[in-house]
Every structure is written in structure tokens, then in C-alpha cells.
Symmetry: C3
Subunit: 163 residues, 3 copies
């Protein structure tokens, strides 16, 4: 589906990251739906090729760097689905909004620090256009007992270069 | 408000379902607000004519089929409000996104299975256009201690047939 | 940024309210992002000039009037950011949707009553145009252990009067 020459995918590789080979929905919903130039992306948990990798709830003495990797993995699944929807990561004109859900108990104040793992990937890849509004809350549990779930609304534009 | 000849309402009846007679807001918000061709629907709990029918949190050994009926009941309230907003269930061009909230404790992995009770009704009624992006998370409590709350964004189109 | 002659800011003052002097993001996200005529506002907790003022979770025997003030404070931060995005509170053509998150334990039924503290401010300020769809859920914890977090989608229009 990718041409291998996409600018954003190239940048992803220079960060030492890659997209998963698949990102199956675990129930009866679509990974994305488009309305006009907005692409609404379903919530993605921290899984790799459909296998959950990080589990909640956040525990006492958790590793923030690892939890941010969980959020980043959600973002990689979102990016997989952006490419599936449009043919190229280069079609993103802007990331509008992320919704971030962290599985955590009462009294956990640092959901935003974890959610930054996803936000920072979008910013690395898209620069100012990757900056977005965001809502982060901690919830009692997530699908498959994942640690993090993130959804997104992105605005699509024309490709910025010939493919 | 319905003409009785609407195609989607007819399909609803063939599924053995009907819309509630009312769907009152329990606080100071609107059940829907339109912006352009998008209709933003407020979260609806599993109530019938304003009386909650299924209560959370999900308990050990819960009945999945019943919990899916709770989610379906949320969808019936959403459909009530789509008709209230537009005059007919036939005005839906596509279901864009559902937000599904299940009242459940830590460690409950199956929110998506419950949320399917709403998603499948939209798919039964609208076919491919009824398929949608979705985010499902489990939360500590919901209005009136409901078991499920679901909100939606739908895209409106022209009526597909003369009324 | 404000001219001091804005109609909605004047109305805010007649209610005995004012906007905070600042509303800093506590992590790597924007307080708002615009797409077309929709302004997507990041979730704001009940803080004043960046200092949290009300803390969750809701406790037995809590004061509803105070909790509604917490929700209203979230709304004041949203309004601060609407003005920051557009130059004037008078640019709001309509409030489309609020997402309200209350930090509360299992079994708490009254999230909507608390969320009304934000909804009623928008209605006081904007009248019918301030009425909106809303989803209110109770979650295990919020950023900085805040009591309430609220995000919004508002529709922008032209200024309704010369500035």
C-alpha cells in the first residue's frame, strides 16, 4: 500500500520506528471513517499486529518511559490506519485532536505525561501540523486490559508531493 | 414525527425493535446539535422513556447478551434523537463515530463486546453506511448508574426517497 | 488580546466572573486546534492560572454547588482558549458539544448535575447558541487529580458586531 518513498514513512524509519504489519479491529467497528476532509480514527490500544503488549492498570512505581512507549504504539496503530485510509502518511494536513485513555486507579495524576508518548510522535513526524488538541483521562479498564487507548481526528489534504 | 413510511423505521420493526416514546435529557444539555452536515449526539444511557433499565458496574458472571441489549437500548435513544433532529431516520448518510462507555471495574477486558450491541444495530439498519469508527472504554460510573452510555457523530444527507 | 468592548466578556463580568490570566497546557498538546469553522478545544481541568483548585475523587457528602463551580472553572479555561484562538469570545457561532469527565468512584450517579456547572455558563453567555450536546462520564482519575475535566467543540462564525 505504501510506495516506500513517502516522506513521513521515511521520517518514521529515521526515528527507528516502523508501522505494524496489521492492526485488526477486535470487535464490530471500523478502524476509521471519513467525513469530508476529516478522518475519524477508532481508539487503538497498545498492541502489535493485534497482540496487546502493555497492560493496565498503571501500578505504583511504574516506568514512565515504558508507558510512553505504550502510548507511542497506539499512535503507530493510528498511523497504520491513516495509511490504510488514504494510501500514504503524507496525506495528513493536520492532526486535530487526540483522545487519550489510560488505565489507572483513583489518585493517579500523570495521565498527560503518558499520553505525550503518542503526541510527541505525531509532532516528530508532522512538525507544527502534528500538534493537536487533546483530552487525557484515566479510566478503570480498557479493551483487552491494555494500558493505553488513543483515538484521533485528523484533517486530510492533498499529497504534498508527486507519488 | 415519523410518517410511518420511513424505510429505516420499517427495517427497525422487522428486527422486532421500536423507538422509545421519549428520550428526555436528565440535565442541562441538548440531545443533539448540528454543525454543517454533522449531527453530534449527546451520550445516551440504557434507559427506556427516561427510566434506566440496566445498571453498572458489570459484575462477575454478567450476561453478555443482556449487556449488549443495554448498548442497543442506548442506540435506540440515539436513533430517537436522530429522528427528532431531522424528521426521519432516512436522513442518515453515514454513522461516523460512536463513543462507548461501559461502567466496569479494573481488569474488565470486554468493553468492545458489549459496545457491539449498539454498533450492530446501526449496521443492521444502514448497512455499510452504518459502519463506523468507535472508541470503547470502561469507566467508574455513568449517569443514573447506567451500565452503558453511547454517543455518536452521524453525517446527514438528503432523503433517499420522496416522503 | 481582548478589546474590552466584547459583548460576551461584558456579560461574563455582569455574572461576577472573569477569565484566568493564563491557561497553560501541562503537557505536550495544544489548548485548541481549528479545522474549518470548528474549533476543537483540549480538555481543561478546574485550575486557575495553571494551579488546580478542586480535587477528585468526589467524596460522600460532597457539596454539589462547589463541584459545579469546579465545572464552571473548566469552562472559564475553555473560554480563555476560545479567545486566544480567535481574538474574541464574540466569534462563537455555537457551542456544539462538551465532553465532561468527573473523577468519581463506582456508584456515583450524578455526573450530569456537576457538568451542568459548565453547560450553564455557556448558556448564560451565548443563549440558545450556547446550548450543546454533551457526554458526561465518571472516571477513575484526571490530570493533576482534578475533580472535573471538560473539553469542547465550538463552531466559529464572523464577529456579530464591529470591533
Amino acid at each position: 500500500m505504501s510506495t516506500g518513498t513517502d516522506q513521513v514513512e521515511h521520517k518514521l524509519r529515521t526515528l527507528g520506528l516502523e508501522l505494524p504489519a496489521s492492526s485488526p479491529s477486535r470487535a464490530n467497528f471500523l478502524p476509521y471513517k471519513r467525513s469530508g476532509n476529516l478522518l475519524f480514527l477508532a481508539g487503538q490500544i497498545c498492541e502489535w499486529n493485534g497482540v496487546p503488549q502493555y497492560f493496565g492498570p498503571v501500578r505504583e512505581g511504574y516506568d514512565l518511559a515504558e508507558a510512553k512507549k505504550a502510548a507511542e504504539m497506539c499512535a503507530l496503530n493510528l498511523l497504520f490506519n491513516i495509511r490504510a485510509a488514504t494510501g500514504s502518511l503524507d496525506r495528513v494536513a493536520g492532526v486535530v485532536r487526540l483522545g487519550a485513555f489510560i488505565s489507572a486507579p483513583a489518585g493517579f495524576p500523570d495521565g498527560p505525561k503518558i499520553a505525550d508518548g503518542a503526541s510527541e510522535l505525531f509532532i516528530h513526524l508532522y512538525g507544527e501540523a502534528g500538534r493537536h488538541a487533546r483530552t487525557a483521562v484515566c479510566v478503570s479498564s480498557l479493551p483487552a486490559n491494555g494500558l493505553v487507548e488513543i483515538d484521533a481526528i485528523v484533517e486530510l489534504g492533498a499529497l504534498s508531493k508527486p507519488r
